[in-house]
């Protein structure tokens, strides 16, 4: 038996849970002040998230998937991406979406049951949230192919969970991205749970990063609660991708601190102690600790930030709640570029029904 190939998977962290640097920080983080925007992004997401859940709980919005505890992953991704890159997210990427310029109003509208929430005014080419787990990894490969085809220095970023790494779609996406050296970066957010199923039950692989080996592409792990580590890994992978060096898979290790969505009750399947044991890893306190230790942040800053964020979020909620629903026939109007005749007939019938009060009156 001779050895014909060998592989290693690395893990990276810059800030430990106490906010102490365990190794020299990368260039972008040399000046602690430069980390303040990342901190703002993390805190914004956390407060937005809390508001969204409150809206759901009070019947003012539909099902919502919280990103509590994993905000640093999204912010790190968002911060590393360029505007012209394309984000292909799953449903839990609120942090990255906000960073990319999707508005809080749009996000609320979307979870509030209105398709206009996916018609982003900002990042026009970003994909909408993907609900079918794992399926969107392939779209990122396709987007990346378009970039490569047009010789544009852009990259596509697909984000998905630990559960998604069990799907054939994610594997196929990694594989074709490798075979074609596509400018795509895949981020597996390992928050340890896929609804009630533990990371260990998804796969026998020691890391999720090593899924990359099957596709012949680089894979690495980072501490997902350390925004510096996330951004650094993405910076490097994106740079390589844009320059024609091919794709990568990054596993960001974090923890889902609350229910899967507002429709879930995690207490059915995991002990509260497991969750509370994770609080010391919190990305907010970690980064704040570093900033405070380095005189880049103070209580005053914090209070001002909270006030500013809350005002922004309150304004978004107000706009959201004041947005009238679309006309009922909107459900027809984006099915095709031009409405085919049979659909036009159905649309007319629906309008007639609505006019006669025969529309939706379900309970």
């Amino acid at each position: 038996m001779t050895t014909v190939a060998s592989f290693e998977i690395g893990y990276n962290q810059f800030l430990d849970p106490d906010g102490k640097a365990v190794q020299p920080l990368p260039e972008f983080a040399r000046n602690p002040q430069d980390l303040v925007p990342l901190y703002r992004g993390i805190v914004f997401t956390r407060r937005f998230d809390a508001k969204a859940i409150a809206l759901q709980r009070t019947g003012r919005m539909g099902t919502y998937p919280s990103s509590l505890g994993q905000e640093a992953v999204g912010v790190g991704i968002g911060a590393a991406m360029r505007p012209e890159d394309v984000l292909v997210p799953s449903y839990r990427e609120t942090a990255a979406m906000l960073w990319r310029g999707v508005t809080p109003e749009e996000i609320l509208l979307y979870w509030g049951g209105d398709e206009r929430g996916a018609d982003y005014a900002g990042p026009r080419e970003d994909f909408p949230i993907s609900v079918p787990v794992g399926s969107h990894a392939l779209h990122a490969a396709g987007v990346a192919y378009a970039f490569k085809f047009r010789k544009e220095k852009r990259a596509a970023v697909a984000v998905f969970g630990d559960g998604a790494t069990s799907t054939g779609d994610v594997y196929e996406a990694l594989n074709v991205a490798g075979a074609w050296r596509l400018p795509a970066v895949f981020v597996a957010i390992n928050n340890q749970w896929a609804i009630s199923v533990r990371r260990e039950a998804q796969t026998a692989s020691e890391t999720l990063a090593q899924k990359a080996i099957a596709a012949g592409i680089p894979g690495e792990q980072v501490d997902g609660n350390d925004v510096v580590a996330v951004r650094h890994a993405l910076d490097q992978a994106l740079e390589t991708a844009r320059e024609g060096g091919g794709p990568a898979l990054i596993e960001a290790i974090t923890y889902r601190m609350t229910d899967h969505t507002t429709a879930d009750d995690a207490s059915r399947y995991r002990p509260p102690e497991e969750v509370s044991a994770q609080w010391p890893n919190d990305p907010v306190t970690r980064l704040r600790g570093y900033l405070v230790d380095n005189d880049a942040w103070s209580k005053g800053h914090e209070e001002a930030l909270i006030a500013e964020i809350d005002a922004r979020i309150d304004a978004a909620v107000e706009t959201y709640e004041a947005t009238p629903p679309q006309p009922v026939e909107a459900m027809f109007d984006y099915m095709y570029a031009e409405l085919p005749a049979p659909l036009a007939r159905q649309r007319e019938a629906m309008r007639a029904d609505a006019a006669h009060g025969r529309g939706g009156d379900h309970d």
Binding site: P132, Q202, M331, F332, P342, L343, R358
Partner: protein
């Protein structure tokens, strides 16, 4: 006798089926300690253990493909797909393997399995959570497609599905998972597959439906009754193989028919029923057959969802048009 909801009846039937046959295994995402996201498998893992109640990795093709292998070996897998919108990666395994293994091997191997999934709209769920593509399954040769519309029928038909020697797609109308309760006797008695259930007898018009739409259809029948119209209401229940005889006999009696389903109208199961009437019952018709169905659009997100779903008023209006036709 226990008072149960439809989803409660599903859980009760699963427990009964697993109790009576040690080869029955339940598998799917979150079917274990979570009891399924709708609690349809609640209590099973505690009672039958993790070897018979399997939380799978997240991969639907895998769930169906595993089940094919298990079933060929004599187990009776009951797969849960968390929502019908997520069964599509498993279609290949279902149509290319499960539905034809018996035929391909001249009966040497077979696939006794149940593919359960909540289906349909109306619960204000996110995107992809409101599918009703039962016609797709009905078109594939070799499958049975069964849809209960009450706790009692959920219990009896699911037991029948598990005991059936061939693959059964079992679609659970999640909008009425908890809409009402019924007394169900957990005595292990199955209901017959392959036959319609006549929910209400009537003389003037036949209303044909299944799943959650039985609720609106019965309400429409009530509204018609208030106007002196006697509507027969048929719950098709097994949409494949289709018991067209019961429908044709009813239409022969009433001469008029409205078919109701929430799936997109084009090439939906309503088309098959209307076609059979046009073929075999044409002379009995006193009026055109109408379909009240979902539009050929994606189910809208929840703010407009109710406008997509056929309403009692739309059904009653169609029935009146058909009744007034002369």
């Amino acid at each position: 006798m226990t008072e149960v909801t439809l989803v409660g009846a599903v859980a009760m039937a699963l427990a009964r089926a697993m109790d009576e046959d040690a080869d029955v295994v339940a598998l799917g995402e979150d079917v274990g300690v979570d009891g399924g996201v709708f609690r349809a498998t609640e209590g099973l893992i505690e009672r039958f253990g993790p070897e018979r109640v399997l939380d799978t990795p997240l991969a639907e093709a895998m769930i169906a493909g595993l089940a094919v292998g298990m079933a060929a070996q004599g187990l009776r897998p009951v797969c849960e797909f968390q929502f019908m919108g997520f069964v599509y990666p498993a279609i290949d395994q279902i149509v290319n393997h499960a539905s034809r293994l018996r035929n391909r091997t001249r009966g040497r191997l077979s696939c006794p399995m149940v593919l359960r999934m909540p289906y349909g709209g109306g619960i204000h769920a996110p995107e992809h959570h409101s599918e009703s593509t039962e016609a797709m399954f009905a078109h594939f040769p070799g499958l049975r497609v069964v849809i209960p519309s009450s706790p009692g029928r959920a219990y009896g038909l699911l037991l029948a599905a598990v005991r059936d020697p061939d693959p059964v797609v079992f679609l659970e109308p999640k909008r009425i998972y908890r809409a009402f309760k019924e007394e169900v006797d957990d005595a292990g008695e199955a209901l017959p597959l392959d036959v319609c259930f006549t929910l209400r007898e009537g003389r003037d018009i036949t209303l044909v439906t299944w799943g959650a739409m039985t609720k609106e259809t019965l309400a429409a029948a009530d509204a018609l009754a208030a106007g002196g119209v006697s509507a027969e209401v048929i719950d098709v229940a097994t949409i494949k193989p289709l018991d067209a005889d019961t429908i044709l006999a009813s239409v022969e009696k009433t001469g008029r028919c409205v078919i109701v389903h929430e799936a997109a109208v084009t090439a939906g199961m309503g088309a098959e029923i209307a076609a059979q009437i046009a073929e075999r019952g044409l002379l009995t018709l006193l009026a055109p057959v109408e379909r009240v169905a979902g539009y050929d659009t994606v189910m809208p997100l929840y703010r407009l969802e109710d406008h997509y779903m056929p309403s009692e008023a739309r059904i009653a209006a169609a029935a009146r048009r058909v009744l007034e036709f002369a």
